[in-house]
Point group: C2
Chain length 272, copies 2
């Protein structure tokens, strides 16, 4: 079955967006559309130009016999900034304040549209870095972790607070939650991370950073490296933060539970 250029462009776009960071040989498309490689190359040039112009991402061409093309997500600042501003507005509602300075974010984290867009923006910062795995902790961080991982084409591993039969053998560590100063436990399935892997830690919310620190300690047990830390929302604290090198989309400050006051700004994402 022969494909016209217009059909090829539509299917190619769908295919590439669906297979980020995967090398797709030109022959794959040439066979899929019964077209000459030269036509496929021309198509890809148009796709690349449009994805870049629209702030969606880019294509990288790998030359040679084993070559092909790879899509990388790269949300432009012009696309990302209005979204993050919108997110700040959503979060600034004082009705979200919960005891202990926490925020009700369940509705925001429950929206696949919001989570996917946030995931794409976070993934853009790591799309050309060496990341083997995205790690998060149950439960709230899971959707964002998948949204990031799907754009990086890597698996997600989920740290839990308790071990379950369906996890198989696990590694368990104790950590001190930074804000509550309580000793807690986290467990991770032994099969989930291999020695030497580069791990991106993703979570929804970070206060003092105790949980993130716990995940970093867990990675030591697996002889794996922290390749990055990214959170949707960070709460600015007067006390010392345990983690300093991280990315945040949104930053809370001046959380005053009594006065139901809450100050929300863009996080450090665009500073880096």
């Amino acid at each position: 079955m022969k494909f016209r250029r217009s059909e090829r462009l539509i299917d190619m776009t769908s295919y590439l967006l669906d297979h980020p960071r995967q090398l797709v040989p030109l022959t794959f498309f040439a066979e899929r559309y019964s077209s000459a490689k030269s036509s496929i190359s021309e198509d890809l040039a148009i796709v690349k130009e449009t994805l870049e112009k629209q702030g969606i991402g880019t294509l990288q061409t790998v030359p040679g016999a084993a070559g092909g093309v790879k899509f990388f997500v790269k949300v432009s600042k012009e696309e990302a900034e209005p979204f993050v501003n919108e997110l700040c507005k959503l979060i600034a509602d004082p009705e979200r304040l919960l005891p202990g300075g926490y925020l009700y974010l369940t509705d925001i984290l429950g929206s696949p549209q919001v989570v996917q867009k946030a995931g794409r923006i976070i993934a853009s910062a790591y799309s050309e870095k060496k990341i083997d795995v995205v790690m998060t902790i149950a439960t709230k961080g899971i959707p964002l972790a998948y949204a990031v991982a799907s754009q990086l084409n890597v698996p997600v591993v989920i740290v839990r607070r308790d071990s379950k039969v369906t996890e198989g053998p696990t590694v368990s560590i104790n950590y001190v939650s930074g804000s509550a100063k309580r000793i807690q436990t986290m467990v991770l399935s032994k099969r989930s991370i291999k020695q030497g892997e580069n791990v991106l830690i993703v979570d929804d919310f970070m206060k003092a950073g105790g949980t993130v620190m716990g995940m970093m300690n867990m990675l030591e047990e697996f002889d794996a490296q922290v390749a990055g830390i990214a959170v949707l929302v960070e709460a600015e604290k007067t006390e010392e933060r345990l983690v300093d090198d991280y990315l945040s989309l949104v930053k809370l400050s001046d959380v005053d539970i009594k006065e139901k006051k809450i100050n929300v700004q863009i996080g450090n994402y665009f500073d880096k």
Copy 2:
């Protein structure tokens, strides 16, 4: 800035795939590309034809002044079947057997590629039905629930085993897990479901169906309706199943823990 047809087709494809079940007015595209509505209509006809031909989905045109176009995911049988067969093969590995007849699925559920494809296939069965919310239970069902919900353009609500401060006020019920016959508790944030909403229940694994039954009972407390039940894997049991109207991609039978034997087939998805 003027857009050529080829550029419009690429950006339109990306935009529509990203906004399933959302009415996009023709004027939106006309302004985005500084193009005449008649050209946009021609573009959309090409996009529709290609998405259908490739088994990705379809476009529905809503005529009139308030009209526009909507993308619906519709993975064709030719696209879905090889994937589900591959999934069966992956799951058939007897090393996955865990005590109690459970299966180690963490690696499969940890792959965003697998989860997204499965989610798209499940969503295809409900894409033209009235669904307001996707509901799942922590932790393992969460990624699949998001994958389904993102294609249906609805929020996800997550039932938990324990209540957390970040959930706000919750509703709690007891239920009997069908296989272990143990009384357990599940809780759901009060703000999460509105009266009369149509809820699609999604989970990774179903044995006797006790957990799914629990979620159905929970929906009664919210005066909401069950619009469907979909699971990735069902385990065929000799004892009576508590739930009968559901969709499954994969079916386990003859699970013999002693002999490490496990029989895996395609679920009932393609029967319906």
